[in-house]
Symmetry: C2
Subunit: 219 residues, 2 copies
């Protein structure tokens, strides 16, 4: 019974790795579409998000089945509940990558961002793709050094988010309302993407160590 349970738990873990790989790819493509006004790539991200949503539902069904058939307790139970939570976070990360792609599609053939903020956003996107890669690695090998990397990348993303906010609030900001709205939303989408990555990192760390590290304020 326990061997069967652990095989099921492994299958659940494999699906989390699969979904995190799709999320990393989605963000990688979304940022390219966003930076290059590549509407076909944007469309691909938007379409492919359905696969992430499908996988989330599949993970949830599997987790519920596991709870029903095996009635796990203690650490095993917490692992299954954490999988349910992580699948939510990963699905939201997929949505946020899709939102970035949707911004690109909406402004096509124009670029979304004014020239003055492109470099900051390029860095933000680099960090988000790197963070998604760390999430995938963390779910693969459960080595909590990836969680530390995720927290560091999130801090850098938060700094860039704060910088974008200042830029838009500065007296010399003179972009149109449309561009200002897009900068505001894009910055928030990247920042939220990172928050969900930290949320996954916290859960894996908790399962591995029993400690709620890395502790950060998520909202």
């Amino acid at each position: 019974m326990r061997e069967l349970f652990h095989a099921d738990l492994k299958a659940l873990g494999d699906q989390l790795v699969e979904i995190s790989g799709l999320v990393r790819e989605a963000m990688d493509k979304a940022r390219t579409a966003f930076e290059n006004a590549d509407v076909e790539l944007a469309e691909a991200v938007i379409t492919d998000d359905a696969r992430i949503d499908y996988l989330q539902t599949s993970i949830d069904e599997k987790a519920i089945e596991l709870l029903a058939l095996q009635g796990p307790v203690a650490a095993d139970l917490r692992t299954v509940v954490a999988a349910l939570r992580m699948s939510s976070s990963l699905e939201r990360m997929g949505d946020l990558a899709r939102h970035i792609a949707q911004l690109a599609r909406r402004r096509y053939p124009d670029l979304v961002l004014p020239e003055s903020v492109r470099e900051d956003f390029r860095q933000m996107a680099d960090h988000c793709v790197a963070l998604a890669g760390e999430v995938e690695q963390l779910l693969t090998d459960h080595d909590t050094t990836h969680a530390q990397q995720i927290v560091k990348l999130n801090a850098a993303i938060n700094e860039l988010h704060a910088k974008n906010f200042k830029t838009v609030n500065a007296a010399d900001w003179n972009a149109s309302g449309a561009m200002t709205a897009d900068v505001t939303l894009a910055s928030r989408f990247f920042e939220r993407f990172a928050d969900h990555g930290v949320s996954v990192a916290r859960k894996v760390t908790y399962l591995a160590t029993g400690e709620w590290e890395p502790v950060i304020e998520i909202d």
Copy 2:
């Protein structure tokens, strides 16, 4: 054993009602703080959000304990898993009310919004408070007519969100970058608040009827 289980399940349901009442109050106060530049009320919403976060953790611990000790199956299991999901949605609704309060605090003593959009936001906030009231009622009596109301209110909120987007994108929009960013974020916060309300409505409806109605696209 089953009687004990149902008492525990009722306690879980009572906590969901309590958290939804706090969420409704939070949005009611946040919108007032936002509309009147009432910084003390804004502070109260920000501080009180800790209680909502605490209750979420408490619901989650109770749900996990229930799973561990009682090993529920079938409909009972789905109810417990749904409670875990609903507590997340309600906690996010609390965060979003807090974000509205934070916008008010950041611009104090100024008002956040330019005069031209205040009436649309007043309606949006009205709908959000009404929606939060319907969520509370739905969790109290499980009457799915509240779910239908939630879907209707969400549709009205989405329309106002689209209208705000058009306003900011129009050629004659000439507010500052700071105000444009705030309008963009505030509109998104109200809209996301409503989305999470629909998410709760879907779960209660599913548990009550076995059907995933009201079906709407949430992102």
